[in-house]
């Protein structure tokens, strides 16, 4: 007779298998073609041919250096914004207000924000229209921040999107560090509070934030949809270039794309390793600056603290204005440069897109619901197993989907699916979403499981309730808040996925996000605005309510 624990063990390993299979498949599916082994394309001889081809591609080095620049620039800006905001406002009277505004900004999906960003900051964008009469700048001298050659616009937009994330991730570690006490000690030794922040708190803060920073770096390196809208396209960042090679009708480029994906992964590892080493160097090895006794800020320190409120303004205004722009454009008929407001309005575009939006909404929601609930089931199985056997899910299953470039992983999966030509696109897309939704659902659910007092269950069983019934009647209701939070987070993640839907659905599955990115190539601002708003709306509501629920979870 199969015992409950044996069933659980079976379920646990099945869950791991199903969730990790894409990772394994992705790896194989990319490794093999990279070395020119792809029987389906008549490539039976492993070789380095695709690598040779890759290194002879003229765009390669410029694309890679562009990617590195954007990643480092955006990460540096994010760290700068986050740390200076913490320094200036942590535990000040504005702090609760600031943390309150972080969640909505974080909840704004990146594609919607990117579209709004172009409306604001292109040379004919709204901000230029506001400034142009005041400062009398001609359009030819306007700044270029959208698709600019060095990717500065994209770096800024990425930083704005990532700063709230980092700030939110900082809250718990900072509480643990007992900032007030550190500040008191530091100032009692004569150090200006800012200096205490730099010398004492920053090294500790960085050590707590290694995983979130790694996630940010992984994202900047590999994001495709955001890049298609904001990054330069000549050459394009490396992930976009890989995506273009994947889509090329010349199938001989597929092994090259595979090799490039591996190269991107290596690049990610190098950058992560390099940054970790830099952190080590600055914080540990060459740390004389930490105890050199300098108690006052220098010129740069003073400058930075003066403009910190400006950082906050930028961080909150740009997303807000982006949404405002989306709304305005969606209803406008004629809105020519340099008018500040549309000349004429219309509902025509909303009406023409309504039907399409309905079916996209239905597809997006059904994928989100399915992938989230299956991920939830797997997460519950894994957490129950962990509770019973004290063996948590190996961290690698959680970290890889968060940090490894999506484009390479999915490419591998797609190659393998070529061997299974009769797979239903919808199911394949749901499976792909599960891969990326599962880590988030698991991480959201884990605290609730940890907080659960097992004695409730013990009491129930001692009263005669069979274990399974007790689980459903006692444990599940008590974990309700955690479950709802996890569902909301999971759905939010699924709704904003782009590459998994596109690659695994073979283009036949259209969600609001894929449509929003496709529409952007059409450059009709009214339609772009409508899809941007629609893409923003649902995850926004979901993620906002997730924070509400998470507070309820943590209040217990």
């Amino acid at each position: 007779m199969v015992t409950r624990s044996q069933t659980l063990r079976l379920a646990y390993f099945s869950a791991i298998l199903i969730c990790s299979m894409p990772l394994l498949i992705g790896l194989i599916g990319t490794l093999a073609p990279a070395f020119s082994w792809l029987p389906i394309l008549d490539l039976h001889q492993p070789s380095l041919a695709s690598w040779r081809h890759l290194f002879h591609e003229p765009v390669l080095w410029r694309s890679i250096s562009l990617t590195i620049f954007i990643t480092l620039c955006s990460t540096a800006l994010t760290l700068l914004f986050s740390f200076t905001l913490l320094m200036r406002f942590y535990n000040s009277k504005y702090w609760s207000w600031i943390t309150g505004t972080l969640s909505p900004i974080f909840a704004l999906p990146h594609v919607a924000f990117a579209i709004g960003f172009t409306f604001l900051l292109s040379p004919s964008g709204w901000i230029f229209r506001l400034l142009h009469p005041i400062f009398n700048i001609s359009q030819a001298h306007a700044w270029i921040l959208v698709n600019d050659t060095h990717g500065l616009g994209m770096s800024l937009a990425l930083a704005i999107k990532e700063t709230p994330f980092l700030l939110l991730m900082s809250i718990a570690p900072l509480q643990q560090l007992n900032i007030n006490q550190l500040l008191t000690v530091g100032t009692s030794l004569g150090y200006q509070p800012k200096q205490v922040w730099y010398k004492i708190i920053m090294p500790l803060w960085l050590s707590y934030l290694r995983l979130p920073i790694a996630a940010i770096i992984g994202y900047s390196l590999s994001v495709v949809d955001f890049s298609l809208i904001l990054a330069p396209l000549r050459p394009a960042p490396f992930a976009v270039q890989i995506w273009q090679w994947i889509k090329e009708p010349n199938l001989a480029m597929l092994p090259v794309a595979a090799a490039a994906s591996l190269l991107l992964l290596v690049l990610a590892l190098i950058i992560l390793g390099g940054l970790r080493y830099t952190e080590y160097l600055l914080m540990k090895k060459c740390n004389t600056w930490q105890f050199n006794g300098q108690r006052q800020s220098g010129y740069w320190g003073k400058l930075i603290s003066t403009i910190t409120p400006l950082f906050y303004g930028v961080m909150i205004l740009l997303p807000l204005l982006s949404v405002f722009m989306l709304a305005l454009w969606s209803f406008s008929f004629r809105w020519r440069f340099p008018d500040i407001l549309p000349q004429s309005w219309t509902l025509k575009f909303w009406m023409s897109q309504w039907e399409n939006l309905h079916s996209l909404f239905a597809t997006s929601m059904s994928i989100a619901l399915l992938s989230t609930f299956i991920s939830l089931l797997f997460s519950i199985i894994c957490l129950e197993y962990k509770q019973k056997n004290h063996k948590g899910l190996p961290l690698i299953f959680l970290v890889i989907p968060l940090v490894v470039p999506q484009v390479g992983l999915l490419f591998g999966v797609q190659i393998i699916t070529l061997y299974f030509p009769y797979l239903d696109p919808f199911s394949t897309v749901v499976w792909g979403h599960i891969l990326f939704v599962f880590p988030y659902v698991y991480l959201s659910l884990a605290p609730a499981w940890q907080a659960f007092d097992q004695r409730y269950l013990q009491v129930a069983t001692s009263l005669g309730t069979p274990p399974l019934k007790a689980w459903f009647l006692v444990k599940l209701p008590l974990l309700k808040n955690g479950l709802i939070f996890a569902i909301i987070v999971g759905m939010g993640v699924s709704l904003t996925q782009y590459l998994p839907t596109l690659i695994l659905g073979s283009g036949r599955i259209a969600t609001i996000t894929t449509e929003a990115v496709a529409i952007t190539s059409g450059q009709d601002r009214r339609i772009m605005a409508i899809y941007g708003l629609m893409q923003a709306l649902l995850p926004f509501i979901l993620i906002l309510s997730s924070f509400h629920y998470s507070q309820r979870v943590h209040k217990r």
Partner: protein, 220 residues
């Protein structure tokens, strides 16, 4: 270089927490503030150091060397503080923690030399490269005091600094602290709830009725 508290009243959002305090602490003198836990003593110390929580309000004047403290930012007040916890920075090793307290004018290799000299005095030289969590509570407490003193404070605030140590250690550390305060000739205000903490020949104040110094404990 006296530390003078003039008509100090600490207010919580709802009420005054004490009667007006008037006291002058001379160089090398230790004044002990006695009272039950949780009635505001530590808050008073925070106020003097410059970290009063916005919920509280301090009325009155505090002067150090004829300079009003309450108008200055916390880091310029030159008021050292010692807590129950040693609060050595975990990411720095022992000698680096000590060096942190040194003035910026001491540069480069000299900083390490001075820090090592301090450690030698404490007979802790062999632990110089270790992290704080590798040392015992007593050792850490002593290093913490030395760090505070190295910053050349003009006044010292002690917030129940001995309460986390076990009785044996307490005695030796107490003696250590008072000896150094006497050598450095710094006015000190100490908050404690243990009468044994109060050194001989010192003034004891009772909270909240702290208008006039009680001379009882001083003539032990």
């Amino acid at each position: 270089m006296p530390l003078i508290l003039n008509n100090i009243i600490l207010y919580s959002p709802t009420q005054a927490l004490c009667d007006p305090i008037n006291i002058t602490i001379h160089s090398g003198e230790i004044v002990a503030l006695m009272g039950k836990s949780g009635c505001g003593k530590s808050t008073l110390l925070s106020a003097i150091a410059g970290h009063l929580s916005p919920d509280f309000h301090l009325q009155g004047q505090v002067t150090l060397n004829s300079q009003s403290l309450l108008n200055c930012p916390a880091h310029t007040r030159q008021v050292g503080m010692l807590f129950q916890d040693d609060l050595l920075f975990p990411q720095l090793n022992i000698w680096q923690n000590i060096a942190f307290g040194l003035d910026a004018k001491v540069k480069g290799k000299q900083r390490k030399q001075k820090a090592m000299a301090v450690l030698e005095e404490l007979d802790l030289l062999e632990h110089s490269e270790k992290r704080p969590d590798q040392l015992s509570g007593g050792q850490r407490a002593r290093i913490s005091l030395m760090r505070t003193l190295l910053a050349n404070p003009k006044a010292l605030l002690l917030d129940e600094p001995f309460s986390k140590l076990d009785p044996e250690l307490r005695k030796t550390f107490r003696h250590f602290v008072f000896q150094h305060i006497h050598e450095a000739q710094i006015p000190t205000l100490m908050v404690t709830h243990d009468p044994l903490d109060i050194p001989d020949a010192s003034i004891q104040l009772d909270w909240p009725n702290a208008t006039s110094p009680s001379m009882e404990a001083s003539h032990a």
